[in-house]
């Protein structure tokens, strides 16, 4: 029995999913409409989709033993560009706008990746720099201007609420992204090489893996997904002010860590990161419903991250001890 629980906890994705389900159930017991109403159901699914998209990209970067702190600024910038395009060129097909946002995000991610891979400066520092630079570009471009819902075409805004067979469109988009990236990370050589690079960058170089190319790809992916998240932001909220996406990069990192992506790279899955994102967002929404104050909402998020890290550490120590005992018994046998 004890063993079964330990094994369950070892698949972090499942453990976090269980916590998520428990949070939803407990909240639903307190307030039925949290789940069992048209709005409740939709919000439950739609609200996490933006952070999920970001967390998936972030997870890919963290798996290569890097981090992308610029995603919040990229999100803000692309959300603003989305609105700007609709104002400057009314009638632009939505798909073109989406592709433009993804493209801009990918370019900004490429800048991150190239600087990190070529300058050999820790990604933490580089992307902290681009966080401010991209935000600065955004502020200069937007000035005191903001995008309002009235600037956006109706069928674009409708995306924020539209459902197909009671699945909201934005949630479906997030799910598709998750499946595609999850598939890539698990089944492709490129994805596995990202794990290898994060697991031991020096060994990866010695082995002859294309380290530079893979690290740049991870950043491009993260940037592109932040661009997509920018479109989601605009569609969902309708208004884009200069504060759009402020601080959300830390939530994305937190979601990945909660979901079991090791901060030093090499392990974890984008699935875990996505479930972590859903948990973060849902808890934030559930706590007010059950009547917990603002302060405690923040503290709960912090506690989740700490709990995830402590759990990782405890499991790692446990595993190490087991392995060294195994080794000794083998060598004396």
């Amino acid at each position: 029995m004890k063993h079964a629980i330990a094994n369950l906890l070892r698949t972090r994705e499942l453990a976090v999913a269980l916590v998520l389900i428990a949070a939803v159930v407990l909240t639903a017991l307190k307030s039925e409409s949290f789940v069992f109403s048209a709005d409740g159901w939709r919000n439950l699914l739609v609200t996490p989709s933006m952070l999920m998209i970001l967390a998936v990209g972030q997870a890919a970067v963290i798996i290569t033993r890097n981090v992308d702190l610029s995603v919040g600024s990229v999100l803000g910038l692309t959300a603003y560009m989305t609105g700007r395009i609709f104002i400057e060129a009314p009638g632009t097909p939505i798909i073109v706008v989406v592709l433009a946002a993804i493209g801009l995000g990918a370019v900004l991610g490429l800048v991150n990746g190239v600087v990190v891979a070529v300058a050999k400066v820790p990604a933490l520092v580089i992307t902290l720099g681009t966080l401010y630079i991209y935000r600065g570009v955004f502020l200069t471009w937007a000035g005191s201007d903001r995008i309002n819902a009235s600037d956006l075409p109706d069928d674009f805004l409708a995306l924020g609420n539209k459902q197909i067979a009671s699945v909201p469109v934005l949630s479906a988009v997030a799910l598709l992204v998750l499946i595609a990236v999850g598939y890539y990370m698990y089944y492709s050589r490129g994805g596995r090489e990202m794990y290898a690079i994060g697991s031991d960058p020096d060994a990866a170089r010695l082995y002859g893996l294309p380290v530079t190319r893979r690290v740049i790809s991870a950043f491009v992916l993260s940037g592109a997904l932040a661009g997509l998240a920018g479109v989601v932001y605009a569609a969902r909220y309708g208004t884009v002010s200069s504060g759009a996406g402020l601080g959300i990069e830390l939530e994305a990192v937190g979601a990945a860590v909660i979901g079991g992506v090791a901060i030093f790279g090499g392990s974890g899955t984008v699935w875990g990161a996505a479930i972590g994102a859903a948990l973060l967002v849902t808890i934030n929404r559930a706590l007010p419903v059950v009547g917990i104050s603002d302060f405690w909402q923040r503290a709960v998020v912090g506690a989740l991250i700490l709990a995830a890290i402590v759990l990782d550490r405890v499991l790692a120590l446990h595993r190490e001890r087991r392995l060294s005992i195994e080794r000794d018994t083998r060598s004396t046998a």
Partner: protein, 506 residues
């Protein structure tokens, strides 16, 4: 176009390579024929590993001939060398701990099933087959994290074999393997030879070289010395070629009066590192610890100083027991330890020189809880002057100094604690010849002042020139305790390559 003599697989000639001011390889050369197992031998630091890394594409040579399968080559990366058909087993395993054993074997060339998806089942199956061929039992599904060194080495071997390369280079592959595993490896190596592949085998164990190889090339001081068929030479001749230089002149140790016992180590044991280690170091004496890389020399030093723990045994300094795993207590008791990699362990390279020198004695400099840069500078000045550290200003960062001066700063740092025992691990690694002599004179002076010195060195000449007594470590045990008069290169090398499999297997 019939060529009676087939082109050798690998030809290197006059290859040289420097890292900064240090020449790792001055004139390396080797010619390896297809269908042969070629031994490459030489002392530690003779340039073998540097040459292996040039062949593997890790380093680029500065000059010289490098031909592979009849063509001039110049590999820019390990991927290039691999693509050309060169597989290398490095001295240290390079695995990805978070990935499965099978993924480690096939990274970058995993088998696909439809839709370019990695076929894990096929990968596990192939891994099983490889392990079967090597006669080992390893679960391809488990993570590489936590594997023993021997198992890691086996994975490296399996990886190299599965590459199906024309040339397989093995840099001390047997260091961590048991007798049975070595036999298996040799059987596989012979199989590859009979298929017409070329193999280069680096080892310090003469028994293995004579059992496996057909040709031997000797390196010394970064240069090619000789190549002979194994059948026409013997161990004595090879050792002579490896050492072959006048030892006494390089490192003169001034005789100092030998005093009382300062350090007494009794029956020290640490599972997996060293066994039954007992020795003494007396005041004014320099005791050298010789042995091959990985023999456990540094581990013993680290345990004595208290960086690492040990399972049983005791350490006494000046007659008082030194507690285990407590470097602070060791420093207080009068020990100083200059570790092997001064950049990693001994020197805060980004800190100023003065801060580095003063860091150990900070406690003594602190006034009212504050440490002023002035106090640091004042304390550092005296020691820097005494050791002739050449630097423009003591408040410069330590990275700006040469290797030799860095080493002096590390020494100054420790000498400022006024120790009765100084442990130095590889005191002159990566230091140019001129500064080397200065470091040696310094150590000699310190011994003259009555400090007991325990010196670990991979350079045979350094040990023989400096030490009053040489302890030879092989596979975690002291295999010889040789006085200065009796210490010849041959005697030390023989003890260093001595095997313990017979005793260990009981």
């Amino acid at each position: 176009m019939s060529d009676p003599v087939p082109e050798p697989v690998l030809v290197l000639d006059g290859v040289h390579k420097s890292f900064g001011a240090t020449a790792a390889l001055t004139s390396g050369g080797i010619t390896v024929e297809a269908g042969s197992i070629h031994a490459l031998v030489g002392e530690n630091g003779a340039g073998k590993s540097t040459m292996v890394k040039i062949v593997a594409g890790v380093h680029r040579r500065d000059g010289g001939v490098f031909r592979f399968q009849g063509e001039d080559v110049d590999f820019a990366s390990t991927a290039d060398a691999k693509a050309a058909g060169i597989a290398v087993i490095y001295q240290e395993p390079t695995l990805f701990p978070d990935l499965s054993v099978a993924e480690n074997l096939f990274m970058g060339r995993q088998p696909y099933k439809s839709g370019r998806r990695i076929d894990r089942a096929a990968m596990y199956e192939r891994a099983e087959m490889l392990f079967q061929r090597l006669g080992v039992r390893l679960d391809p599904r488990r993570l590489a994290r936590g594997l023993s060194i021997a198992d890691q080495q086996i994975i490296e071997i399996a990886k190299a074999i599965s590459l199906d390369a024309a040339l397989l280079v093995m840099d001390e592959p047997t260091a961590a393997l048991s007798g049975v595993e070595v036999d298996r490896l040799f059987a596989v190596a012979r199989g590859l030879r009979d298929e017409g592949r070329a193999l280069v085998f680096i080892s310090h164990r003469f028994e293995e070289i004579f059992a496996l190889c057909d040709t031997v090339t000797v390196f010394r001081d970064g240069a090619y010395v000789a190549t002979q068929p194994i059948a026409e030479t013997n161990r004595g001749e090879i050792v002579a070629q490896m050492v072959g230089r006048d030892v006494e002149e390089l490192f003169p140790k001034v005789p100092a009066p030998i005093g009382d016992t300062v350090l007494r180590v009794e029956d020290l044991n640490s599972t997996g590192a060293f066994h039954d280690v007992s020795f003494e170091v007396r005041a004014g004496e320099i005791v050298g610890i010789a042995g091959l890389v990985g023999a456990g020399r540094s581990e013993i030093a680290r345990a004595v100083f208290g960086v690492d723990g040990y399972d049983s045994g005791s350490v006494h300094l000046n007659g008082r027991a030194v507690p285990m795993r407590d470097p602070r207590a060791s420093i207080k008791a009068g020990m100083a330890f200059v570790p092997e990699d001064r950049r990693l362990q001994g020197l805060v390279t980004d800190g100023s020189i003065a801060r580095n020198i003063a860091s150990v004695i900070r406690r003594g400099l602190v006034k009212a809880g504050l440490l002023t840069s002035r106090a640091e500078l004042r304390a550092a000045d005296a020691w820097a002057a005494r050791l002739q550290v050449k630097t423009h200003a003591l408040d410069m960062p330590a990275t700006t100094m040469s290797g030799g001066n860095q080493q002096k700063v590390v020494l100054a740092k420790w000498l400022s604690t006024e120790p009765s025992l100084l442990i130095v691990d590889e005191p002159t690694r990566g230091i140019d010849v001129g500064t080397k002599a200065e470091v040696h004179r310094l150590l000699s002076d310190l011994a003259g002042q009555g400090i007991a010195i325990l010196m670990i060195s991979s350079e045979l000449a350094e040990v023989l020139g400096m030490a009053d007594r040489v302890l030879v470590v092989s596979e975690g045990r002291i295999t010889a305790d040789i006085d200065r008069e009796q210490a010849t290169p041959e005697a030390v090398m023989r003890a260093a390559t001595q095997l313990h499999h017979a005793e260990a297997g009981e």
